[in-house]
C-alpha cells in the first residue's frame, strides 16, 4: 500500500504554511503528525495533490499557561502534552485521555491540532475539547479567528475549517475551584484501537461536596463528539448521588444517534454511552471528593 503521487512543501512559519495552502488550492492538505493522514493516503482514502508539512514550524510547538487557560500550539506532540507537568496539574483530563490515544510510538509523532482537524468522532482529543469547551484558534492568509471546539466538528472527519485554514492553537480552560476531579474512560476492542465509545467528565465540588459545576460528553456514539452542557447544568447545586448521575447518563445516551458497523450495533453503542458517561461522572466525582478530603495532593 503506497500513497498516490503528490507534491511536497515544507513550511518554516505559520505565514508560509497559510500562503502555501492558499496557493496550492483545494487539493492541498496540511500534514502534522500524519498518524491518521498517512494511513489514509496509503489506503488511497486520501489523495492530496500537495502536502504542506508543518512539523518544522517552531511557532506551532509549545505548551504554556496564560489567562486561565492551558494553551498548546497545534503541532505539539500528544506525548509531550500527556507528560507536561502543568498540563497534568491544571487540565488532568488531557493526560487521562491521551493515555487512550494510539500507542507511545504514535503519540510521539501525533499532534494535538492534527487530532482535532482530523475529527474522528470516536477520537479522544476532540471529545476532551468539546467537554472542556476549549477554544481553537485558526489562521489563514485572510486573518485569524477563534471558535469553540463544539463549533468545529460537523460530522465524521468533517469540520468547519475552510480548505486554506490552519489550526494554530488549542486553549483549554483551567478549572480553579479547590476540589476538581476528572475522568476519561472508553471501550475499544484492544487498548490503543479506535474507541467504540468514549466518555469524559469533569466535576467541581464545594467544601460541602455539593456540585459547583460539571461537564461531560460522549464520543463515538454520534457523528461528532457530543458534550451535554444543559444536562450538566442541572447538576449544579446538587449532591452527586449515584442515582442522579445514573439518570443524567441515561438521558444523555437517549439524546445520541449512534451509528452501526462491523464492530458494534447502534444499540450496543447507546448502552456503552450510558454506562461510560455514568462511570466517568462517578469517577470524576470520587476524585473531586478525594481531593476535598486531602487524599490526593498534587
Amino acid at each position: 500500500m503506497k500513497a498516490a503521487a503528490f507534491e511536497y512543501a515544507r513550511a518554516s512559519s505559520i505565514e508560509e504554511a497559510c500562503a502555501l495552502l492558499r496557493e496550492r488550492g483545494d487539493g492541498a492538505r496540511l500534514i502534522a503528525g500524519g498518524q491518521s493522514l498517512a494511513p489514509m493516503m496509503a489506503m488511497r482514502l486520501a489523495r492530496p495533490t500537495w502536502l504542506v508539512d508543518i512539523n518544522d514550524v517552531p511557532d506551532l510547538q509549545y505548551i504554556r499557561v496564560e489567562g486561565e487557560r492551558l494553551r498548546a500550539g497545534a503541532c505539539t506532540r500528544q506525548r509531550a502534552l500527556e507528560r507536561d507537568a502543568r498540563a497534568i496539574r491544571l487540565v488532568p483530563l488531557l493526560s487521562q485521555a491521551l493515555q487512550w490515544v494510539g500507542h507511545i510510538q504514535t503519540r510521539n509523532r501525533g499532534t494535538a491540532g492534527g487530532s482535532l482537524a482530523h475529527a474522528d468522532p470516536s477520537a479522544e482529543l476532540p471529545l476532551v475539547a468539546c467537554v472542556l469547551d476549549a477554544e481553537v484558534s485558526v489562521r489563514s492568509t485572510r486573518g485569524r479567528r477563534a471558535l469553540r471546539a463544539g463549533d468545529l466538528f460537523t460530522g465524521p472527519m468533517t469540520t468547519t475549517l475552510a480548505a486554506d485554514e490552519l489550526i494554530e492553537e488549542i486553549a483549554w480552560p483551567i478549572w480553579r475551584e479547590d476540589h476538581v476531579g476528572s475522568a476519561f474512560t472508553e471501550v475499544s476492542i484492544r487498548h490503543g484501537d479506535f474507541a467504540l465509545v468514549a466518555a469524559a467528565a469533569q466535576v467541581a465540588l464545594d467544601g460541602e461536596a455539593r456540585c459547583l459545576r460539571a461537564s461531560f460528553g460522549v464520543g463515538g456514539a454520534d457523528a461528532t463528539p457530543v458534550a451535554f452542557p444543559e444536562l450538566a447544568q442541572t447538576l449544579a447545586g446538587a449532591r452527586l448521588e449515584d442515582s442522579i448521575i445514573s439518570t443524567i447518563a441515561e438521558r444523555a445516551a437517549a439524546a445520541l444517534d449512534p451509528g452501526e458497523d462491523l464492530h458494534a450495533s447502534a444499540h450496543y453503542r447507546r448502552h456503552l454511552a450510558k454506562v461510560l458517561a455514568e462511570r466517568s461522572l462517578l469517577e470524576a466525582r470520587d476524585r473531586a471528593i478525594a481531593r476535598r478530603a486531602g487524599q490526593i495532593r498534587q
Binding site: M1, K2, A3, A4, A5, F6, E7, Y8, R10, I31, G34, Q35, A38, P39, A42, M43, T49, L51, D53, N55, D56, R79, G102, H103, I104, Q105, T106, N108, R109, H191, G192
Partner: protein, 164 residues
C-alpha cells in the same frame, strides 16, 4: 503531474546520508531500498503493527507513517544502530536471544526499538510499563511473554552493569 524529486540529507545511525526521493516514498522504504538497512521491517504499511519502528530525533515512531522527505535535516536510528560499532548485539539484543523472545523475528526490530526507548527513559520499568511500551507492536509468534521477560532481563543486566 510529474512529481519532483526532493534532495534530502538525513543522519542515519550516526552517518549522514543523502539522496533524492519522490515525495510519496515512505521513510521505511528509503531506509530499506536505498540505504539497504533492511533491519527495519515493513508489516502493515499503515501504522498498525510497529514492525517499522525507528527512533526519529530520539523518539520511537513508525517509519511507514512518515515520508522520507520529511526526515530531511533530522536524525534517525534504526535497529542496526542499536548494536555496537563492531556490529555485535548489545545487552538488549542478547537478552532477546537468552529468553527466546523471537521466533520468526519479524516483529523483533520494532520490539527492540520500543524496548530501547523505554529503558533509556525508565531503567527500572514495571511489567505493566513494559507491556505499555510494546503495546503498539504486534507479535504473531511468541505470545509476548518472553519479550516481556527479555526486557526485564535486559533492564536488570543494564542496571547491574551501571552502563548503557
Amino acid at each position: 503531474m510529474t512529481p519532483r524529486g526532493h534532495r534530502i540529507s538525513v543522519e542515519v545511525n550516526g552517518h549522514l546520508h543523502e539522496g533524492e526521493v519522490p515525495a510519496r516514498l515512505t521513510l521505511v522504504d528509503w531506509l530499506r531500498d536505498e540505504l539497504h538497512l533492511s533491519g527495519t521491517h515493513v508489516g502493515c504499511e499503515h501504522g498498525i503493527c510497529g514492525a517499522c519502528s525507528v527512533l526519529f530525533d530520539g523518539e520511537a515512531v513508525r517509519s511507514c507513517l512518515m515520508f522520507a522527505v520529511q526526515a530531511d535535516g533530522h536524525r534517525v536510528t534504526t535497529v542496526e544502530g542499536l548494536s555496537g560499532e563492531d556490529g555485535r548485539p548489545g545487552e538488549l539484543q542478547d537478552a532477546f536471544c537468552e529468553t527466546h523472545a523471537l521466533q520468526c523475528g519479524y516483529c523483533t526490530p520494532g520490539m527492540l526499538i520500543a524496548a530501547h526507548a523505554l529503558l533509556r527513559e525508565n531503567p527500572h520499568p514495571t511489567e505493566a510499563e513494559i507491556r505499555e511500551a510494546i503495546g503498539g507492536n504486534l507479535c504473531r509468534c511468541t505470545g509476548y511473554q518472553q519479550i516481556v521477560e527479555a526486557i526485564e532481563h535486559a533492564a536488570a543486566k543494564l542496571v547491574e552493569r551501571g552502563a548503557r
